[in-house]
Symmetry: C2
Subunit: 271 residues, 2 copies
Amino acid sequence: MSSFVRVETPADPRLRDYADLKDVTLRRSLEAAEGLFLAEGEKVIRRAVEAGYPVRSFLMSERWLEGLRDVVAASGAPCYVMAPERLEEVTGFAVHRGALASMLRLPLPPVEKVVAGARRVVVLEDIVDHTNVGAIFRSAAAFAVDAVVLAPRCADPLYRRAVKVSMGTVFAVPYARMDNWYDGLAGLRAAGFRLLALTPAADAVDLDACAGGPDRLALLLGTEGDGLSARWQDQADLRARIPISPAVDSLNVAAAAAVACYVLTRDQSPA
Amino acid sequence: MSSFVRVETPADPRLRDYADLKDVTLRRSLEAAEGLFLAEGEKVIRRAVEAGYPVRSFLMSERWLEGLRDVVAASGAPCYVMAPERLEEVTGFAVHRGALASMLRLPLPPVEKVVAGARRVVVLEDIVDHTNVGAIFRSAAAFAVDAVVLAPRCADPLYRRAVKVSMGTVFAVPYARMDNWYDGLAGLRAAGFRLLALTPAADAVDLDACAGGPDRLALLLGTEGDGLSARWQDQADLRARIPISPAVDSLNVAAAAAVACYVLTRDQSPA
């Protein structure tokens, strides 16, 4: 049985999970220490619950209660209710989608398990921007990519901003994190994946030539700005580029991911 | 002859152009009233100046002076120099790319002028998010789209966030704004453009079938969430979709724009 609890004071210790949402450094350490993450907005909260993440608590203003009543009731977690302007004092900004949930992280599966049976995998080297990570998950889900694999330093897909931009697809696309950057690709190659490094370099082959390719393909995407490391480019079987105007340096990594997922999943029949 | 002026007080009236950069409402009214916009970071400032936008002033901390000395000197505009922590008090946040310039807007050309000679045009109905507008311009530039046309209510490409995300491509891709939403597409049709509405609707044709299409093509993109209005969908010659997984509602509009620009500009020879 869940309980609805009206809370008046932003400093109430029961609201600690929701403090200072704009402070990335503080949130990172709090969320890691407590093993939690935040879901924002009715649709995203529903998707997280459906994906099996346990709820620690909810925090919302009155007007969002009705839409989430069934989810709150089924969860058994406390639901803190506050006036919108008080809520803003807790989080440090206006929460447009009005409802928040603090959820428990689940242990990530090992990479081998996530890629078993997969045909198309996206591998993110060191994407640092949570918006880009979320956007890449959304495109991966849309083009039915089977799994995402993260390098050790890639930004957290369960960080609030990534969850929001992904529209909750971070809960739907299976993902895992490598233990080891240096030899991280060896396991994928051993599992029979052909490794395709995406790069704006002029000497790479046209991505289009890679469509309808091998049974198991891993698309490698590098960090914003510098792109894939030399190590990973060397380890790849193939370097491919999306042809763009010579007047432009590069595509944004999320735009490049969308185009590459589109091209590489065309004409794929289900495994 | 430009002048370097050390400023100590965040409230100095000469810094008014740079106040409260996080306050979207305030910035919108200030920038409209003064006919200005802000460019951020060395690369973006250079691109704005090269595109012919006059500089009102610069504001930066000491360490960025050297990289922009030539631009400052050529501009004749005052360059205000401040300690980074003072600068943050002016703008309301840490300016990571350290250098700002307040630039004068130029009158936008009429739509007819911007699309004259164009073969591939992107039309944005009511995109409200500055990040999406910036990202769409970056992809449009990368895929050598000839022009962008904005509906009256589409977000401003010269808003700081849009400029930044676009990597300055908002200065390179010609664009114009329609006076009139209701009949805004008539002019494009009269100019010989085939109007292609992008939609996730299941009854639309596969976008791929539209590649290598007519000489003059206008890609219509609708607002986040609701997509294109019924009016514009009715006005279009063709409704096309990017095939995605039935488990996902839609692509992000910037991701969809990247894929569509990629598909529709393949095999285009220069006009």
